[in-house]
Symmetry: D2
Subunit: 386 residues, 4 copies
Amino acid sequence: MKQLKLGMIGGGHGSFIGAVHRRAAMLDGHFQLTCGAFSSDPTISAESGASLGLPAKRVYASYADMFSSEAALPPDQRMQAVAIVTPNHLHAAPAIEAMRHGFHVIVDKPLAISLDEARQIQQVIHSTGCQLALTHTYAGYPMIKEARQLVHAGKLGPIRKVLVEYPQGWLSQALEDSGNRQASWRTDPGRAGAGAIGDIGTHAAHLAEYVSGQLITELCADLNSVVNGRQVDDDAAALLRFSDGASGTLIATQVATGEENNVCIRVYGELGGLQWSHRDAESLRVNLHEQPAQLYRRGDAYLSQAAANNSRLPPGHPEGFIEAFANIYGSFARRLHTSGASLTPADLFESGFDYPSIDEGLRGMAFIEAMQRSAKSTQKWTTIKP
Amino acid sequence: MKQLKLGMIGGGHGSFIGAVHRRAAMLDGHFQLTCGAFSSDPTISAESGASLGLPAKRVYASYADMFSSEAALPPDQRMQAVAIVTPNHLHAAPAIEAMRHGFHVIVDKPLAISLDEARQIQQVIHSTGCQLALTHTYAGYPMIKEARQLVHAGKLGPIRKVLVEYPQGWLSQALEDSGNRQASWRTDPGRAGAGAIGDIGTHAAHLAEYVSGQLITELCADLNSVVNGRQVDDDAAALLRFSDGASGTLIATQVATGEENNVCIRVYGELGGLQWSHRDAESLRVNLHEQPAQLYRRGDAYLSQAAANNSRLPPGHPEGFIEAFANIYGSFARRLHTSGASLTPADLFESGFDYPSIDEGLRGMAFIEAMQRSAKSTQKWTTIKP
Amino acid sequence: MKQLKLGMIGGGHGSFIGAVHRRAAMLDGHFQLTCGAFSSDPTISAESGASLGLPAKRVYASYADMFSSEAALPPDQRMQAVAIVTPNHLHAAPAIEAMRHGFHVIVDKPLAISLDEARQIQQVIHSTGCQLALTHTYAGYPMIKEARQLVHAGKLGPIRKVLVEYPQGWLSQALEDSGNRQASWRTDPGRAGAGAIGDIGTHAAHLAEYVSGQLITELCADLNSVVNGRQVDDDAAALLRFSDGASGTLIATQVATGEENNVCIRVYGELGGLQWSHRDAESLRVNLHEQPAQLYRRGDAYLSQAAANNSRLPPGHPEGFIEAFANIYGSFARRLHTSGASLTPADLFESGFDYPSIDEGLRGMAFIEAMQRSAKSTQKWTTIKP
Amino acid sequence: MKQLKLGMIGGGHGSFIGAVHRRAAMLDGHFQLTCGAFSSDPTISAESGASLGLPAKRVYASYADMFSSEAALPPDQRMQAVAIVTPNHLHAAPAIEAMRHGFHVIVDKPLAISLDEARQIQQVIHSTGCQLALTHTYAGYPMIKEARQLVHAGKLGPIRKVLVEYPQGWLSQALEDSGNRQASWRTDPGRAGAGAIGDIGTHAAHLAEYVSGQLITELCADLNSVVNGRQVDDDAAALLRFSDGASGTLIATQVATGEENNVCIRVYGELGGLQWSHRDAESLRVNLHEQPAQLYRRGDAYLSQAAANNSRLPPGHPEGFIEAFANIYGSFARRLHTSGASLTPADLFESGFDYPSIDEGLRGMAFIEAMQRSAKSTQKWTTIKP
């Protein structure tokens, strides 16, 4: 496949996720970084672009500049898609503007700062015909693809129980008061919109729905701001009800002192259960009733096409976070190359070249808002809309 | 210490927990099985007693017979304590009767079939001065003792978060319809009182309070009877609030297909977190903020006195479930030998020779009833009383 | 089965393995401790016996006294078997004397202090018709039974490779100089005969042969006394060749600082491999070529009769070292009850009621002597005899 | 740092390691693939280059062509370094030729097909002043850097014991007969030179020396060709002696059916031990005598500069094989940028920007030859030269 030309908004010096996006985009040669507006500070943007080896004229002081300038370039030279890696409050506006200029969009999660913003993005997708990918990283792990396939194929029987959790400890103290840049914006209501539920809770909720194949319909949430003075939630838990009758729990906490990013999902059906943990991302544990537990491993020959298509190395040579991220970029690139052609959801599912998009973005924002409504309610169950 | 003479009610052929109680009682030589009423069927009782090597005259057709006959024996021959290992609905009556005859009581959990019954037991303890032990097994594991010591000593800072779970899969299908004896009574409302919340939920709740040093004050429960036709709950989850401000979640499910008895507790404070799982019961993982995770191991020299006193073998030679159970019996034996003397809670805590008793039994029943009330309520939070 | 009357030689106050033998003998009610000569110091013997609740007249000042006194008792009162739990140099003489008095023998490993002594024991077995059990504990673990069954059934194909190791760290410093009683005799050539190779190397060698079903025929050893001033080997490694063409390695070291007793065996055949580690003794990992790894767990329904017969509790309720030990006692009890009847090796294998005996004891001593000869040789391969 | 221009020899369609080298070279932007001779078949080379997005004129039919053509380009356009990813018998000639044309060399391991070839490469390095990197991947893992630092700093005390192993199962059957390309050349004496000892044994030997800081001086080897008809060794084990008195064992086998690439190293000193396994590459287990085991994790703040400099992501977001590989490329790039300046071994050690080079390559070839000599010898110990 021919390399696609990628621009970037945000991701300048000191950014964490910007560098991940760049490595992921380039890892398999699907994208080539062509231009960028790496910071709202033009000097930082220029320096960042230079250190990335971009010619100065393709490094912009603002995304508005970038869109108009790139759109004016000949088609074979201009940016084709743009990665938006800014804080949450700066997702919707550039995404909308990008699509209005004809650029496809990859945007970090959560999609926006409100469900309303997300709906606006949805409208622009419809009106422009542009494509959008949302980097819910965990959907890129091959063993998560495998889990989803097993559930879908009925290997576990009807799903009854979904336990999902994302425990972190990095915000167990008031890191935002010490000048930590990541902590600052992620605990700022104005820039983040929500705390733990937005930053990691949406990952957990997405994973629960992605693997189980059921949607969360109702939830009952407990939200806390555990650290003194923190302006957003840093700790969340919820009881869940799913569309096909499963129940579940969701834990998303940033005050689990000493924990890393140990996302974990367990799904139980009538015939068996499965378990995946980020700590051992290359394995998927499958327990069929009264049989020895089985350890599926990335790269092995018995895996589904969906898992195989998202794998590079033989089993035992670990792939990790960047590869999972790159799988989203790779699937999105495939989609862009087949624009206009018919790619059915069944094709995408079978091949594993699916990726989170606007529907998942809308659900994430609806999840955040439902969690917030539930937390304030004395009623047990709160409905997720849409 | 001199061996104590132990009688048993229930635990005849085919019983699971009766044999555990007997092995636990005898493992360290604290008790000697002296007599028993092993079944409501006199023939089974007689055969069970014979196969245990008891003389026929000390094997009784009913617990009433046993109490009156044993009470009539000379003090140096008669039973001193009785282990009650019958289904839940047959805990309170024999416990009360035993104490009225002057026999101390070890009773399997949950304490009774209702909070009301539990309160009656409490009154008889007060009126007779007899002692009672409740076999919440997990409180007998040395690494749980260690966890409790670490929390109490403030090593983790103020506790903010408690995650406890007890996932099982053995009832994921309608085992009670196939004549399985264990499944039959445990899913029978009349004999069990409650399902998952009584059988394993009380273990989880006890563990949460035991390790965290905080009491559950409010909960919000989701209870399900997942398997068609099942008369009791087989799946439970709850959001928890604790007496010193911690929040938490509790999962107790018997339909987690493929899971064994993997009780797991995680406790997080401002300075660190800890994690224990039944699957690796000899280890306790301690994560202090920004330090390498530490793996405490049973038998090691750096452990507390409380852990050391509940350990027999060098590290690496695994102890298990029977040993944990035996630790409760051992502590209870110590208590009986020092009857009349002053044993302060602080002494028991320091030495690790504490054991669950009437207070824990009452809390267990209050937990069950609160879970049931909450499950029926549309209100989010339900208070635990007492 | 009727309880057998057990005497004990050694195992007084401060002994480690004596208490393990007693708990193991009694755990399942197969044996009853009836008498003992617990120490060469009559006062210690008397005190030890008293604390174990034995009547003073059944506590002896020497094993010679015990044998003659017990032999003089009526058959229904006297000791039937004796457990010898003294240091290695005091195994052969009491074992021989016991059998000459008609008592069966359970003896801790290694069988003796020399191959020559072992052969004398063998002769007395033949001449008296008494039975002998050798407590190679690891052969008592149900998942080791399962491993053996799988290999025997050909599930792994012809076995090609055997990797066995027993790393410990407790002697990584000169503990024997600090008055530690266990360290003192175990590093004393006069009492132990050999160091690491006797104490743990024989376990490893036995396990390798037991699971693989092949005998070690040749070895090439490197023996070291790593700690300054130590009189015996504390570190050993060997290349191995087996009777049916497998090759392997054996590691037995007491200076692996920080290691507990993590015995581990891996066996690989043409069709698959298996792995068992003492650290996770309830699991057996089975890898069939190009299939997901399977985790067999003690207590599960799909296990062999041999594993099931050596198991007490449901899966997930851990059994440990004492249970493994008790399985040897239990199988030996079965053997004693069927004395005279025909118990074929195939029956024992199928049922799992086999136990290490004189053949394994001879092989252990031959292994020790071959390791010592090889260590001094400049030739690569040394033959094990017999 | 400015991107370096990289050429490649080998690595065309169907190559495994070629794609790894390309991803590793580009992951952090240190190198840019500029040209290549991807196959000895000009058509395959051309197609491979085209699919990589290279202009046709920079894709060559042979490495000889590439060297002469690139050398003729202006300095700011021509290749600066070349990655050699061909089978072992095609390492030395292009490496030598490359340096004679002034190109630096990255070469896959083992360095060559004989110690003699390796010495010729060494001479050309000396005569040309070019630099060479050898991709012993495992030296690129940050937790291996950390292990090395801990040993060097004396945290474990004097090192006594080194256990290293590389078990694989992929060649447990005659895969070379089924047309598998990787299996074909790796089991072909003419192209591979050696079997398991070259392909994975050199990794194990390098890791042992790298972490322990001691050199293997003597070894005693057992080499086998387990699979019928195989022309090279597929199974190896050795006893080891090290330069500062440690002893050890090495296992490198390709017939450990069901094993992936679970390289594992354990190093024990007087004060503590450490353990690293490829299966859990982000962790390093450190056991100090009589202290809780510690789990060091990649990305954590307490790690050495050497580990930190070889890490990209926060702890818990797994990095893997490609990142480890990229660390070697990154360190080599740093070296090339500072050509002429003084970079002391101490600087490289402290910073972690060291990489395997000619010395490690020579040692690898000497290891292979010593293993082969030892396997044929009846003498126990064989000396490694040089």
